[in-house]
Symmetry: C2
């Protein structure tokens, strides 16, 4: 039986990414790390628990991708450049096949963004993963949730709703006849990409930003609360993929999926009038489109509108402890 | 029913410690943090899982102390100055009484070391805690595991074995007649203190260091392996408290407890001959004693000796996955 230390050494000590700002990585009491001069450190922590955030029998490579992508997405939402991650892995027994799959998914994404695994902990218990990711951002350039003002325009990157459609297929709540469509939507759920380059491109342009992890309506609420404004969303502006429209031909239902879809990892951001012209140019090199879906107003809350008339849809974001 | 965000806001957003190097703490996608010029960042992650590292019914204030103390102890072992911590808390349901107790223990220790909680995650699932602690260390001054040489002397701070005695009492494996003795040993297990000041004082003096979390024999092995040396320990030099001697009057058994006791959070460090005179002076202001227990030699492994003669005791450190 492999012991704890063997496991860590075998699966986590060897990684292609070797950053110059990591004088000491795994294997000592702490990692030693160097932040570039003039940069602030952006840090975020996310836990994924089997049974709550993923199915225990899920492909471990997908689980790893989801764990790291959701964590990197928080860096993207601040406009930060990813650098390091620590991994706390709790598992019932040292399952080497699971670990091999997990590492494959984890290191593939880490390598893509040049993120080095610098430490962590491996413990016995119910399956769960906690990641703490670190990135850099030039001092004063971070995209927070509190910088938005009434009159700013509301944007989202990419399309919304595909992740929710993929989850419904995964859970067997829905089926589709077209196997290609099924595989695309499942992939959009399992392999959603953090918008790292888009976040960096929006430094100095967006007034506020966050990533959509609990659903647009729920997450946008955090910007509204922190910035002290309300939002008016034109539902017909919401960007839907052709695949979502094929999955859910009833348009209003597709739009409601787009408003509530979690784990999307698209960015929602706000832009002052004078910066609107810069958005498309800034995002051009990131390969990500952005769509204006509404505008901030004085007051509180989110109003959904169509043709200028209020809509009364009931929507809820994802909440782990809600019943 | 409180939702996830309410819980986080209510229990974790308010803390007495407000550091100037934390421009943005809890409540955004990431925390924003500033590392002093000329310093490296030391980072360590520890998970505590109910049923593996603590009893589910344990006092939550003790659990919080243990979680943070074990994490801070890793900073102490590098000679780092603590600064920030992130907390990932997974719990089956939002138990407010448990949270209140946990926060009390957590913030008491955090405040003592001026550590600010800068972020984290609250999720639903089996009870567990993962902390990632951050500290500063002047560039090039970290105490690693790999700097020891043959001929260096082996030291430990404080006394060894009290934590194991307290654990045996807690688990009902042993009893003692004296209630005062019982309460002292339980306290030594529950409230072991990280040797933060001692670690900092040893910068420039110790050649290698680590904290004793899995038992002296097991942990010292990491220094030996990383530094490519062997150790000779004079068991009669091991520092035992009067309480341990009362708990275990049979001397050899008390010494064996001292060699294997985990979660002690004392430091084990090595000192070149020319620095030996500086140890006591350096540690004087930290209020912690240090005891020389042996010397490093060429070769591999640890030899226990008494009066210069080898001993053949069988000892094992703590390993989560061992059977």
């Amino acid at each position: 039986m492999a012991n704890e230390f063997d496991l860590i050494a075998r699966y986590f000590e060897h990684q292609a990414v070797k950053r110059k700002d990591v004088p000491l990585a795994i294997g000592d009491d702490c990692a030693l790390l160097e932040v570039p001069e003039g940069s602030q450190l952006a840090v975020s922590t996310d836990s994924l628990v089997a049974g709550t955030h993923f199915l225990a029998e899920a492909d471990p490579a997908w689980v790893a991708h989801k764990a790291l992508a959701s964590n990197l997405s928080d860096l993207a939402a601040m406009g930060a450049t990813p650098a390091w991650v620590s991994l706390a892995l709790t598992m019932p027994k040292p399952d080497e096949a699971w670990l091999a799959g997990f590492c494959e998914g984890f290191f593939a994404l880490a390598e893509y963004y040049n993120v080095q695994l610098v430490g962590g902990d491996t413990t016995k218990g119910p399956l769960s993963i906690t990641l703490t990711v670190h990135g850099f951002i030039p001092k004063g350039k971070a995209l927070t949730r509190s910088g938005a003002h009434s009159g700013d325009w509301i944007y989202v990157t990419g399309n919304l709703g595909d992740s929710a459609a993929g989850l419904a297929l995964l859970l067997g709540q829905r089926t589709v006849d077209d196997p290609m469509l099924e595989s695309i939507l499942l992939e959009r759920h399992h392999k959603a990409e953090p918008r790292i380059l888009a976040g960096q491109a929006l430094r100095g342009i967006a007034s506020a930003a966050l990533d959509i992890s609990d659903g647009l309506i729920s997450d946008l609420g955090h910007i509204l609360q922190r910035s002290g404004v309300s939002a008016e969303i034109d539902v017909d502006k919401l960007p839907l993929s052709p695949e979502l429209e094929a999955f859910e031909p009833e348009r209003d239902k597709a739009l409601q999926l787009a408003l509530a879809s979690g784990e999307e990892y698209e960015l929602c951001f706000t832009v002052p009038e004078q910066n609107r012209g810069a958005v498309d140019i800034a995002l051009a090199h990131s390969g990500v489109k952005a769509t204006c879906i509404g505008q901030l107003r004085p007051g509180q809350g989110t109003r959904l509108v169509r043709d200028g008339q209020p809509l009364n849809w009931q929507l809820h974001g994802y909440d782990h402890f809600a019943e």
